[in-house]
């Protein structure tokens, strides 16, 4: 199994190669000599390469005496994944359900995922917060949040201007 240092070292070297390759496609400007658009990407690519070599060569020596282990269990990944799926669904659903409904649903699901099992108070909390946030951001701050009209628009024959 690769150590953290070796993984970071390999990632650094790959980043260096990708950056250098992409920089090669940038135009050179005769009047600016070697300091055109590709200059700084090449500097960063070189630094990534040096860093990658350092990680692979001496990275493990810089590790503290107590070995560093990454403790991410399968459950951790599942819980983080669940939150991500919920959040991505929430963002994607706003255009269809509108901000208030989508946010209320997300807050309800979020509290459930965080361990709340009081269904009624959770539902009330979710709806109240969603409405309050809508009023603050849309009405007061004029952030263009999707309305629940978006939901009505999916009804055949219904059209909102």
């Amino acid at each position: 199994m690769l150590s953290q240092e070796r993984v970071i070292g390999v990632v650094s070297v790959i980043a260096a190669v990708i950056l250098w390759y992409l920089a090669a496609g940038l135009p050179s400007i005769p009047t600016h000599g070697d300091v055109g658009p590709a200059f700084f990407p090449r500097v960063i690519a070189s630094l990534f390469l040096i860093l990658g070599v350092l990680f692979l060569a001496i990275g493990p020596r810089l590790r503290p005496k107590a070995a560093e282990t990454v403790s991410i269990s399968r459950n951790d990944i599942l819980r983080a994944g669940l939150l991500l799926v919920l959040t991505i669904t929430y963002v994607a659903a706003q255009e269809t359900l509108g901000f208030v409904l989508a946010t209320a649903a997300y807050l309800f699901a979020g509290r459930f995922v965080f361990g709340s099992r009081k269904w009624l108070s959770t539902a009330v909390f979710a709806i109240l917060c969603a409405v309050l946030l809508y009023l603050v951001f849309k009405t007061w701050l004029h952030v263009p949040l999707p309305d629940w009209d978006s939901l009505l628009n999916i009804i055949p024959g219904y059209a909102v201007d």
């Binding site: 200059f39 700084f40 860093l51 990275g59 990454v70 991500l84 946010t103 701050l141 952030v143």
Partner: protein, 497 residues
């Protein structure tokens, strides 16, 4: 004097005062909640400042900054859990005193020390920043390039964990800044024909993701638990006896000055200021053995030190446009959203804004003193709120906040991606601060380097003929090399961490 009066008038405006008070109150609540930081509070409130006039918006953020650090002492003392990393040192003596039944007194000392330490740093800021701005006006391309490099190396040296990992994080941030428009020639770079990428990658979604959304993931995965406080003993207000106040005042004075100095070093945040102040106080005490068992001067030192960081961190922010820490990075975002670029020219172009910030910082400390003493007992009860209420709200505010930056879903996806990256970085001990600070500093570093090289007849060698460049680059190399050496020695078990 004219600028002082203009600044006073601007802060004295009812709207500015209202938002300052709201910010301090909100910051106290946020800071007293374990798992939350003043940075997170500032980030979720940042979108609110976009639709406010510049000064009320800044007052809101300053209030949250000050209140957030001050509020961190409340759970540190009552629960032995620092509300923010800056209050970690406060637990050492604060919790033992709370368990001994002196909760009202030690909470009072914590709040008073925070406020007085912050006032000291506000006065230092007013005194030093204008003088440093005069020096900064003499900076050219070479000096600004070196300053950016120094800022990055200092941040990497003190950001915790491995120096090499800090450099890795900084390079990730630097790589992201190259997407968009070339700063010298105006042509697109690494945009892959995407109109979104042509606008560049803003560091604000990265900030929200790394410091906001990643905390939600962490709280869920670590099953952050509700904590109950059982030793409230009918406490209503935080109170401090005059004899206790006389005892802690010298500690507050020393720590206020030290915290300001530490805060002025980019990357050295409030947590370092707090620990350093605590250690200095302990080492200079007649009987160091009492520290760690319930010595009220320990609480005073760490709280004065951490709140003094606020004024100190604003020194490089205002004079050079370099954030002193993550909180001032958020303030730079707020300023730039209002079309204000921090730096030495701000002192000549908008002196009333500068003085409004100075006076607002001082006024925030006064509000912290009043609101903190009144609400400390209430806040102790409030910290028992379950994470299931708070963290889903933070997630929603992170999504809405990222969207409201430029009404683009790309910013939201970007924020979520950085939330995941931030969580992974936490697990593998890669600091997140260098990513964001590189995204702020690297555009300046690149443009000044290239501009300087184009002008200089001797190329990069010509930079060394500038004395300030030599000093700054020397300091940068020294900070990195010494951090690496210390880390090597620590890894071999031969030296301190």
């Amino acid at each position: 004097m004219d600028h002082f009066l203009l600044g006073l008038g601007a802060v004295g405006d009812p709207m500015a005062l209202l938002f300052l008070a709201l910010g301090v109150a909100g910051g106290l609540i946020i800071g007293s909640l374990p798992g939350f930081t003043s940075t997170m509070g500032m980030i979720v409130l940042l979108p609110l400042t976009f639709s406010l006039p510049p000064i009320p918006g800044l007052m809101l953020l300053i209030g949250v900054f000050v209140g957030g650090i001050g509020g961190g002492c409340i759970p540190a003392i009552a629960l032995n859990i620092p509300g923010t990393p800056a209050s970690a040192a406060t637990t050492l003596d604060g919790f033992p005193l709370f368990k001994k039944g002196r909760g009202d007194e030690v909470l009072g000392v914590g709040i008073i020390a925070s406020a007085l330490g912050g006032m000291i740093s506000a006065v230092m800021l007013m005194t030093l920043a204008p003088q440093l701005a005069l020096i900064a006006l003499k900076f050219g391309s070479a000096e600004y390039f070196a300053l950016g490099i120094l800022g990055m190396t200092l941040i990497i040296s003190v950001s915790g964990g491995s120096v090499l990992r800090g450099i890795f994080a900084g390079l990730i941030g630097a790589m992201l800044t190259m997407i968009g428009i070339d700063p010298i020639l105006g042509i697109t770079r690494f945009t892959f024909d995407s109109p979104y990428l042509a606008a560049g990658v803003s560091y604000v979604p990265a900030l929200i993701g790394l410091f906001g959304f990643s905390e939600v993931i962490e709280a869920l995965v670590s099953r952050l638990q509700r904590r109950k406080v059982t030793e409230l003993q009918g406490m209503r207000l935080a109170r401090v006896r005059l004899s206790t106040l006389r005892r802690v005042l010298p500690s507050i004075g020393r720590s206020g000055l030290l915290g300001t100095f530490v805060g002025s070093i980019p990357g050295a945040g409030a947590d370092i200021a707090a620990f350093l102040s605590y250690e200095v106080e302990k080492k200079t005490a007649k009987d160091p053995s009492v520290y760690g068992k319930g010595e009220v001067r320990g609480v005073a030192a760490s709280e004065a030190g951490n709140n003094a960081d606020a004024g100190g961190a604003m020194i490089p922010m205002l004079t050079f446009g370099i954030p002193g820490d993550a909180q001032t990075a958020v303030m730079i975002a707020a300023l730039m959203m209002h079309g204000v670029r921090p730096g030495p020219l701000l002192f000549t172009d908008q002196p009333n804004l500068i003085w409004a910030i100075f006076i607002g910082l001082f006024a925030a400390q006064v509000m912290l003193l009043v609101l903190g003493l009144i609400s400390a007992a209430v806040a102790v009860r409030a910290v028992s709120q379950p994470p299931s209420i708070l963290f889903p709200l933070v997630a929603v505010l992170s999504v809405v906040g990222a969207f409201s930056l430029s009404n683009s879903l790309y910013d939201v996806w970007f924020m979520i991606a950085f939330g995941v990256i931030g969580y992974v970085f936490k697990k593998v001990n890669i600091p997140a601060v260098p990513v964001v600070l590189a995204m702020i500093l690297m555009p300046m570093v690149e443009s000044e380097l290239r501009r300087g090289l184009i002008i200089s007849p001797n190329g990069f060698i010509g930079f060394f003929s500038h004395p300030i460049f030599d000093i700054l680059i020397g300091a940068a190399v020294l900070s990195l090399v010494s951090a690496l050496i210390l880390q090597l020695r620590h890894a071999k078990g031969k030296g301190p961490s």
